[in-house]
Amino acid sequence: MRDLTAREIFIIAVVIGVTGWFLYLVRDILLPFVLSAFFTYLLSPLIFRIESFGLKKIISVVILYLCFFVVFAGILVYLVPKAINELAVLRNNAPRYFSETKGLLSDFQFKIEDRYPFVKEKQIFDTASKKVEELFESEVARIPGYVLGIFSLFSIIVLIPVLTFFMLLGSAELFQKMMEAIPPRYVETTLSLFYEADSVLGRYIRGQMVETSFVGVLSIVGLLALGIDYAVLIGAAAGIANMIPYVGPFVGFILAAFVGLLEYKTAMIVIKVAVLFSVIQFLDNNLIQPIVIGRGVNLSPLTIVFSLLAGAQIFGILGMIIAVPVAGIIKTVLTIIFKPRAKKIEEKAVII
């Protein structure tokens, strides 16, 4: 292929500049499109699987949507009202939980203050508990706002599914156009690089999503069976926290044990919750992880905790959500760049 002339480079630069400026102007409406593209990327392999029976693309997409519809309709009808209800109850009960916890703590406080009078002089306990109370009240009250602030209800229910539908329909065609546009000499290297990244990263993200849903659903079912309050909220939190190895499983356990203890006031409930989460962890480690994670990147717990905190520092809640996938992307790129050459089998070519 010939080299680009200065004029062509100028035109390309202008096009990129104008496109960038335009995207900046419409940045507020981009999120549903970006998320739809992300879902399209995640769901494409499933569409290929359905299509491999010889079905038309549109039929495959409709079948996938019907399957999701059944699952999501179930979630919408059963879990969402429950979760919203739990949030409302939690908001009402938060001060009571706090005072109960404070009651337990104040005994402890008196004992300490008896022994070390300077603690009382400095009012360490009072200041600390006041700060915690403030934080707790303001943060808990804001939880539903966080969720709805990131995604409006309209974009979740209507916009994203519709956009994803059309992207799934058109993605193969778009890909084919790109394929034809790439100069022949670069086809092999560029697409191979793309697929190497996809093979590692795609598996990682899909694996995490499957694992999150698995742990989340099992936790919810288990907690409901044990009769723990806020089963849906705690189960969902356990599923999401499960992305952090070692630390994640404890989050669900501690939340559930705390709520169970306040509710039943016996140690038995803590043991039951511990058994439940141990069983879920066992199933996850031995059944799900070997299948879904496979060759995908494995981030060390240290990396995950660091990226979560870094994400929170830079972008807040949204940063924490995207932190782990972004760390995954960086690790994938590094893995591909510094990939050790596959060891070749050196054989003397004596043919027998």
Binding site: E51, F53, L55, Q176, M179, P184, E188, D198, S199, I351
Partner: protein
Amino acid sequence: MDLRDLFTKIFFDREYKEKITFFRTVSLFSGLSDRALGNVLGIVHSKIYPAGETVFKAGQEGKALYIVKTGEVKVSRDGKEVCRLGSGEFFGEMALLEEIPRTATVVTSKESQLLLIYKVRFDELAEDTPRTGVMLLRNLASILSARIRDLKDLDTKPLQTK
């Protein structure tokens, strides 16, 4: 039109049948079921090359296998033409096993539609559908073994590549 035809027309992809029929002519895919070929279809990319276009040069690292769908390509080594490959034939199969430099240069002699299978995707397919993977690797192995048998003066002296 009977109901079954109508059903087929609404739900099934017409091109799918054509593609599968073409795959049946490729020796790499022999013995694969329709369903397995359907899976292979998901990892195949097609690209149209104008006549006289270089597909790859000897020495470049190979990352994909090519199947000639339509047209014709010319394979040459050290500037000398080795053979021409037409519809249903394939080349660059070593890339599916090892990422090693290409041993020949391939140029299209007519406008050609080539199908590409990348090593990465081939490995994924083999992992996700092991049955299909075993069949494909077995076919690949017997094709390579046939080529070794075809090498001239094989029985007079063993090859020493090192």
